[in-house]
Symmetry: C2
Subunit: 198 residues, 2 copies
């Protein structure tokens, strides 16, 4: 519809998560109806964010600096590490403002069906920090899903190796089957506040 360049834009928009052909066309039309005010600023923002984005080599967060703002924040407690599945989960906890320590982003969960094994999870920076003796508590904030539970038990086995480290997990307030980053701030605060030893 409407020339190769427009079709190609619609095709790429249709690959975004949650998009179908209809929403891709709707967004393309919205942008193309007023390119200077809508499309150009978005293209520029994408380019700039793409140039600037870095994965934090310490925690796995996405930021424009490495290590990320959280890892280098002197007001945060680096001895309390909250383990989350995704950067989206980390951002959800940050928006809620309920965690004053640092993070470890696994980048997923163990999932034999999807072929995701321990070697696919970003866990070694956490193990390094544990070996350096700089961590006193690890909070497991994984989703209340089968994969989240599997991953949590695997992590608990690994973490049991480090003496003097408290391992806790968020529990109360997490709806069963729920993902972390769709919870409201109050639920996140309750789940984190009522954490218990794993």
């Amino acid at each position: 519809m409407g020339g190769h360049e427009i079709e190609q834009l619609i095709r790429l928009l249709g690959r975004l998560p949650g998009f179908g052909p209809r929403s891709a066309r709707r967004i393309a039309l919205f942008l193309l109806r007023d390119p200077q005010a809508r499309l150009v600023p978005l293209a520029r923002a994408l380019e700039r964010a793409g140039d600037a984005v870095k994965t934090c080599s310490t925690c796995g967060n996405l930021d424009t600096v490495d290590p990320c703002h959280i890892c280098t924040d002197p007001l945060r407690d680096p001895s309390v590490v909250c383990v989350v599945e995704t950067v989206g989960d980390l951002w959800a906890l940050e928006r809620a403002g309920v965690h004053r320590g640092v993070y470890q982003v696994l980048g997923g969960t163990l999932s034999p069906l999807a072929g995701i094994g321990p070697e696919d999870l970003n866990i070694s920076p956490l193990l390094e920090r544990l070996e350096q003796g700089s961590v006193r508590e690890v909070i497991l904030a994984l989703g209340a899903t089968v994969e989240g539970a599997t991953t949590m038990h695997w992590l608990m086995d690994k973490l049991a190796f480090y003496e003097g480290v408290t391992v806790s997990r968020v529990a109360q307030g997490m709806p069963v089957g729920g993902a972390l980053d769709v919870l409201d701030d109050g639920t996140l605060a309750a789940a984190l506040g009522a954490r218990r030893p794993a």
Copy 2:
């Protein structure tokens, strides 16, 4: 969250129709997790589409050429003009493949509440075509909304001036209160096929 450039991208994504802060963050994270494979091609496609897009000065369609592919297609009948509200409606009719004439895109509907008057609608290219005597039928394919009906009656008054021009309107199959571009192809075909004099 995560640096100025990333925040700016999330802000702009959040202004897209149907987007909220949550979906903006989800799409931003999806793109930023793999910039080379996801973000860069989309940024490039936006840029190219933005450079290439033109509004057809004859019908109001968005295309990469002016006049558009439809207006210059020798296999189409330029004497049958289908009037639609938006480019999205035009594209919906094209996907359904039910109209072999040409189009006139109004760019909206009359809406006193929204301050949209006759001077805001793209109607003069159609009037020019009518004055040249090259049009024998005008099909009104406006949405079955209050604004669509208002616009249709205003158009019928204007078109009554041109003798020898049949004015018809799509009718059967349009759900009341429905917009044109969410209809399935079969409904569109039925609505167009069963058009009757306005």
